[in-house]
Symmetry: D2
Subunit: 341 residues, 4 copies
């Protein structure tokens, strides 16, 4: 019998707790071996009902326990660089929640460290690539059956934002998913970003200009635009419309029971990303586990993390200047030859 | 220049008033010449803003005015027989709101009187034949492109019922439209009717068993069923699903602006038949006017009125007995050779 | 009895022929009195089956016939200025197909001529204001029930373009409708236009860069964008998504029978603007006739024609320069105080 | 660490192979320990890539291997009785694909054998109870927020049938799912079944009368009807519309990317039950595994298997007679007190 992956989950906050539950109850071939959190009590609470899992305050202790052979990083982004470099040294398979790191320079350091190991060890948590809608749209693009893809119109709407969500995070925390999705759908790099600021909602916290309209170009000239609206009140929605030479495709439509009551037809809007992308997270983690057991990665690479970090930097600058800002990337290392496709 | 049709509208109640407004503001080639109502004040109110139109308490007076050359009958059904026979004698083009008459025997008398005149003068107000959805479904059936039609599942739902709406009227006032629509869609006569009574809503007035499930067969064996639910609270809906050998077709879906708000997606349910079938009424009346100016009828004939009256009789008997009740028709007069198609 | 409007239709091409048919068979209160076309044979063909209508080679002859008391202008746009000034001199009620004139300077001359007459005589043919979807969205904006309107995402897609359709006409013939619709929905003027040119379809004729992404701002900062794609192959589509503070509204969704066959669900795409906006044209012409009989106009004014001409000029310049181009308007004459609302 | 369930899968045909793959790659907490098939080569092929799993020609050998502590029965239904009784004797947790057994008498023997063990060991494979749509509809019924449930309109359509699919199997193999779903949704037993045979498709194999219209009543008088159409050509569809006192709910609508191309809007019809109910099968098996590890069952019980067997018997009789046939059940053993809810 194959040994299951023994995973250390670093970070027991919202995303971490979600992944711990996922690994413990739904993912085949992996078990939670350790939970690491600076807040040791939170780590202990997370493993309370998982026999065979231990709680630690540091990743080093978890690794030294001898029971860990894989790591899932779910801490805030500014802590990723250090955690990634440490795990790369131990040659562990790594699933790193997005972003890889918060900026292009630190992301590039991670890329260089991974390249030095000679193989891809880091998979980045862009889970949209595992969502049925994006997968089917990606297949349509690559099949060529509707001709070339020409434009993408994206909507990314949240009901509201947690405390501490800044104006820059509209780009770095939300639009970052569209940056990767556009790269995934087109198999191209993004070459420029521009941000339009117009009329703002009265429902946003101080400091946020919400919504924003983000204009994106890819290397072959595909035009994309994103309405990012993070205090949209009505609910959660992530949707994309793609204009091809021979047809128009929409993904991300509403679903669920269709109810007619009290003069209204319709259903319930998805309340949040967990409901919208829960199955995609399951598929993502399972893909990582399956690949890790073979010594590979099963999704977006460190290069994808680096390239989107560069987009985010350009996006934040564009937010401030109102200008179109070019996205410039280092040369792609040979290790990542076949990525984003 | 062609003379416009000078129409006497008999009955200035809800449907009559609606048709008066339609003839006066939207229908090309016809004008309201007279409004007839036993309640003369109601007739006078109806013509108050229509220059050239007169109010009368009886149809005879309207005809004697010399200004009328067509008649639209919008009184309650039990008054139709007399009004139809009088108008036939004057050889006027007649648009008669459904039902032709309330029962098969009186409807047959009208048919015989019309046959005696040698041409079709009566058009019956089954306006669904002028609704885009039914028309397109009818074309699909006749084209044969989806193979034979095998089953029809119909829904007829009202938010509530006006005072005086009886249990029999679920059949004679509501399902009567499905009787005609099924005949129109299949180009066949109905051969039997059965009614299932199950759990009833607590929202219906005393005496009504609501909803009911009506089972219908046509001469070639097409099975149809109708959910008639006249106190359905949520709004108005008339929809049909058709199962063909090679495909399934739905008409009557919800429309209008698609709104996402407060955790719900959807739109507004049609509030009533005026909104759902307003355009069909316009098309129906225009078709009658155009045909009348040529000396013809432009829609369902007196035969259709008679055949559906026979279905209603069978339906009411089926409601009481719970049995499958056969629908038996007299031989079809040659005059109506090409009807229902 | 009120006299019907006796309309001279100038121009018997595609749009003119459509309006002649409409006036002759569906519009209450108006008749076709004259058809004017430089190609007299075309004019004669248009009146062949209309008793009481005459054909002329010039508008002057039609007016001198003494049988005309209203005019509908359906010639190419470059002929509008002369026709409008002539009809204004005769104080006729005028329905002028869009555009009012092809550029802002000539449109302003028409505005000045109308202002000199002291009342509004010109209604411009922006028929979207009579489409159910735009009307309902406009009502939602004005009601405030979803909070302020923040963004509009518009799609305008044609299957292909007629011979002679130039790159500039993407703006002046197609986006011009969105210019007016955005003004109508926001009750504001447009302040700037920018055009993004990205990857182009291989299906467009030489000289057209298709599709284009048009970025628009209104005076209060509402951001709008339009995908204009006039060789989109799949069919015709005009749709808008509106982001409000408290909800998202879509209009222009697909309709008609819902068919499941051969592994596919769905229905038929609207083939062209006649099918999509036929009912809106009917409503527009009826509104003009009803208003003209009262000595008023019943829709968009010459001011709306002028303001959209200025948007078109800016749009064409933006197409060439790639820059954001400001839209500058003359001061609004008091005569048009309540327009666009 | 908890031990995983070591499952013997009996039957390596279509459903068996599907469940083997599911247990091996997606289900957490269970492994395939043995595959049993009379055709030993088929069993061997099924375990070829599963380290730690063995192939056997009989269940007895699998049990004697000492490596099995649970059993999933996926053989044809006529073999279930024997397999169930053997597994009950060994006190194993059992997941039995539907039907429990082919008729009510044999199903009752299984119930009695299970009751004799003193606890529920058998879970029956009615996977619709694990489908999101049915779950959400069930919740709506039980919440009472739309008032009482009054009627259910069900559609069960397959593109075609495998060789050997008989006329009786329309009831026993297909409608059996609706029998259970109706019991699940209403929390009531079915009291009668009737079958209408009308016009039949020309696409069905000899011996099948297809489609059929099945009329069902529950103990409180809820009326249900099922269109069962197993050679419907267009694709696969399982959908239900529920009429409540205060609203109408549809589940099972079409989904996936929404494409406009070549004059059509829409998407792809689900091709078969694997695509439609794949996630439900996963959820069902996971629920059984989780419950089995606690010594319980996590879904429909042997009572549900017995009650639906009685419905199938009545349905087949109704198919032949055309009459309404009562469904009569033995008294429910106390062991199953809380089932179907």
């Amino acid at each position: 019998m194959t040994e299951n992956l023994r995973v250390a989950v670093i970070g027991a906050g919202r995303m971490g707790a979600d992944h711990i539950q996922r690994l413990h109850t739904r993912i085949h071939g992996a078990d939670v071996a350790a939970v690491v959190d600076i807040d040791l009590d939170r780590a202990k609470a997370a493993v309370a009902h998982i026999s065979g899992a231990q709680a630690f305050a540091t990743a080093t202790e978890a690794y030294e326990s001898g029971d860990v052979n894989a790591v899932l990083i779910a801490t805030p982004g500014f802590l990723h660089e250090q955690a990634l470099l440490a795990a790369l040294k131990l040659d562990l398979p790594i699933l790193c929640e997005k972003p890889l790191t918060p900026d292009a320079a630190s992301a590039w350091k991670v890329v260089e460290a991974e390249v030095a190991t000679g193989r891809k060890r880091i998979q980045v948590g862009f889970m949209r690539r595992f969502d049925d809608g994006y997968r089917q749209l990606g297949r349509l693009v690559r099949s060529g059956e509707l001709g070339d893809l020409l434009m993408l119109h994206c909507r990314h709407r949240n009901p509201d934002t947690p405390a501490g969500f800044t104006n820059e995070m509209l780009i770095t925390d939300s639009v970052v998913h569209e940056f990767d999705a556009i790269r995934y759908l087109t198999s191209e790099e993004i070459t420029s970003v521009q941000v339009r600021l117009g009329k703002a909602t009265s429902k946003a916290p101080n400091g946020q200009h919400d919504p924003q309209h983000v204009l994106i170009e890819t290397s072959s000239g595909v035009l994309a635009d994103v309405e990012i609206f993070v205090n949209a009140q009505f609910g959660y929605q992530v949707a994309t419309e793609a204009a091809f030479e021979d047809g128009i495709v929409d993904i991300g439509g509403d679903g669920g029971p269709y109810v007619r009551r009290a003069g209204r037809w319709g259903g319930e809007v998805t309340p949040g990303f967990e409901e919208r992308f829960g199955a995609a997270y399951d598929a993502e983690i399972q893909s990582w586990v399956d690949a890790a057991l073979r010594g590979e990665i099963g999704g977006p690479s460190a290069w994808d993390g680096y390239a989107t970090a560069a987009c985010c930097e350009a996006g934040v600058e564009a937010q401030k200047s109102g200008d179109k800002v070019a996205v410039v990337l280092n040369e792609k290392p040979a290790l990542y030859g076949g990525d984003s496709q």
